[in-house]
């Protein structure tokens, strides 16, 4: 008797002839062309906040350089703790520092926080409602490195955790604005992090935009479609809206950077206006993220517009170049615009 493995086997796709070969770098740029960028907005904002607040300390599990926490470590070396490649320790120790009155910012990649350290975040931090601020790079599909680094279900995991506030920022303005909001919130926060050169998107479309914790904001209005988006999908939706406007389709984009608690009032008010197709858009599995949260909110309130979801499939995603993968899985501007067109 043989014991042949039934494990998953990759089936190579046929690459269209003439298509340039792209690489699957770990750190890939998310910015569409035409947006200015800000360098390390998280690190800069944290240094700014920490200058006047001695309670703030930073910890990382061997990923400070890849979460922009190195900016903090360089500016305030006495307040930075290198915890080594040990995520269970990272969050336990952050809980211990919080017990002693500090506000620890603990950083790693989203997959390692959500999958590897969940029990420690749940019991050492959330159950005691301690003010630990978790900031995690590579949210959703923002690396071509494959499922080991693609946090496609982090929000689904953390949405089930009581008392945990969840932030999915769109751009440099959100990242800069969320840092003081995380500090001001008295309990634990999980923030998806955009690091490196982060595009400035929202203020270009809405000059007076400022991040507010727990608040969804209309970035652009429109008569035909309402896209309810979070994270980088707000950027994609705004770009898709410009493309669709050329076809005479008028698309509104409601940006929901706080996934929990959800701004149900604004979502219901906008979705309840009627006459618009409502589309959720998230850089996350369609299971357990923004889309399902919005759907449950609408249905329970008796608001039932035509509703569609844009998000990642319920699957382990492929490795590859990020633009290829965003196209393949429907997160690119072209794919977002095409799907909305198809639904009208």
């Amino acid at each position: 008797m043989t014991h042949a493995s039934k494990a998953r086997k990759y089936q190579p796709r046929t690459v269209p002839e003439g298509k340039p070969v792209a690489t699957s770098a770990m750190i890939a740029s998310l910015a569409a062309e035409g947006y200015d960028t800000v360098s390390a907005p998280f690190g800069q904002a944290l240094v700014e906040a920490a200058k006047d607040d001695p309670r703030i300390v930073g910890l990382s599990a061997d990923l400070s350089k890849y979460t922009d926490l190195h900016v903090f470590a360089n500016a305030l070396p006495e307040r930075f703790y290198q915890m080594g490649m040990a995520e269970q320790l990272l969050f336990s120790a952050a809980a211990g520092l919080a017990r002693e009155g500090f506000i620890p910012f603990a950083t790693t990649y989203a997959v390692f926080a959500a999958r590897r350290a969940y029990d420690f975040i749940a019991m050492a931090i959330a159950e005691e409602n301690l003010p630990v601020k978790i900031a995690c790079a590579l949210p959703g599909l923002t690396t071509g490195y494959g499922p080991s680094h693609q946090a496609t279900e982090d929000l689904a995991i953390f949405r089930g955790l009581p008392d945990m506030v969840l932030i999915d920022p769109c751009d440099a303005c959100d990242v800069t604005g969320m840092v003081p909001a995380m500090i001001a919130h008295p309990g634990p926060v999980y923030a998806r992090l955009l690091r490196g050169k982060v595009p400035s998107v929202l203020t270009r479309h809405k000059p007076d935009y400022r991040f507010e914790l727990g608040r969804a904001q209309m970035i652009r209005d429109g008569r035909d479609v309402l896209v309810i988006a979070s994270g980088i999908m707000t950027m994609r939706a705004l770009d898709a809206a410009e493309a669709l406007a050329k076809d005479g389709v008028d698309v509104a984009v409601l940006h929901v950077p706080t996934i929990k608690p959800l701004d149900a009032d604004t979502i219901l008010a906008e979705a309840g206006r009627g006459g618009r197709l409502v589309v959720s858009a998230e850089n996350h599995s369609v299971n357990g993220g923004l889309g399902e949260a919005v759907a449950a909110t609408l249905l329970q309130a008796g608001v039932t517009p035509s509703f569609r979801m844009i998000g990642l499939p319920d699957a382990f995603l492929e490795a590859g170049a990020l633009p290829t993968l965003h196209d393949m899985y429907g997160l690119s501007v072209d794919r977002v615009a095409a799907r909305i067109r198809g639904w009208l």
Partner: protein
């Protein structure tokens, strides 16, 4: 009031340990069950902690100047409640509420329920990592207080324990004292048959800790080990591996086949208290 130490209290450590055992048995009787085997075994370690080593204030359990005492093993709550009552941090009148609805003393220890219960244990392998963070925090505040983490031999199997072990050395946490209650019993059988493959002290020493291994039911040995751990000049964390005997102090339970959850039949509680009474110290 700060801890009544030997100089101001005429209650012996032997009697403190006996009182802790008696209160744990009384709580076990309330529910007809409980981890009394562990409580009886660890009573001497808790007596030495609360009535020899650590500073606390009965009227102010969150006093900034206290030594921190973390119970990583949440199911040992019955033992810590007994010690906290003996210390006057919990009122003894609440003893009969143990494990009841609306009690401040749930079966598994939770920080939000109980004065003096510093952390929520129970998901094992958490305490030492939290203790590392607290020890870092105390140093950052310029405090000279210690963090004690009481854990079990079963928790030596959790990888998170060893992450914390390495970090405590990296950060030279000379304000961290780990107490391992080694009773060689975990849920499915002897810890020595699972991941607790000795020798224990040399393992911790190899990581860079100061390690002592003592008879955890010998109060004299415990006092000496705690004194050594507290006075050590080297900038390294300290561990005391306390070899204890489950059910210590109640002979017929001690003689029973050792297991993780000692069954006590309904008619046996009075007999257990009676047997404990036979060994009552002055």
């Amino acid at each position: 009031m700060t801890r009544p130490d030997a100089a101001v209290s005429n209650v012996s450590l032997e009697r403190r340990a006996w009182n802790i055992r008696r209160k744990a048995l009384l709580m076990g009787e309330v529910q007809g069950q409980g981890y009394v085997g562990q409580a009886l075994g660890v009573a001497d370690v808790l007596a030495t902690s609360y009535f020899h080593a650590i500073d606390w204030r009965a009227d102010d359990p969150e006093w900034e100047g206290r030594d921190r005492f973390y119970l990583s093993i949440g199911h040992y709550a019955i033992a810590l409640y007994a010690a906290l009552m003996e210390a006057g941090i919990l009122p003894e009148e609440e003893l009969a509420t143990y494990g009841m609805d609306d009690s401040r003393m749930p079966m598994s220890g939770m920080a939000s329920y109980t004065p003096g219960m510093e952390i929520t244990g129970g998901s094992l392998g958490h305490g030492l990592g939290i203790a590392v963070g607290a020890a870092l925090g105390l140093k950052r505040k310029g405090s000279d207080r210690f963090v004690y983490n009481l854990m079990s031999d079963g928790e030596l199997g959790e990888g998170s324990t060893w992450e914390a072990v390495m970090s405590a050395v990296q950060w030279r946490l000379d304000n961290l004292i780990c107490l391992v209650d080694f009773n060689n019993q975990q849920a499915d059988g002897p810890s020595r048959d699972a991941l607790a493959q000795g020798p224990e002290a040399p393992k911790w020493e190899a990581f860079g800790w100061h390690a002592q291994e003592v008879d955890g039911n010998d109060l004299g040995a415990l006092v000496a080990a705690f004194d050594t751990a507290r006075a050590l000049p080297e900038p390294k964390p300290r561990v005391i591996i306390c070899n204890t005997r489950m059910c210590k102090g109640v002979d017929f339970l001690e003689a029973r086949e050792q297991n993780h959850f000692v069954r006590v039949e309904p008619g046996e509680w009075a007999r257990a208290l009676d047997r404990l009474e036979q060994g009552k110290p002055q």
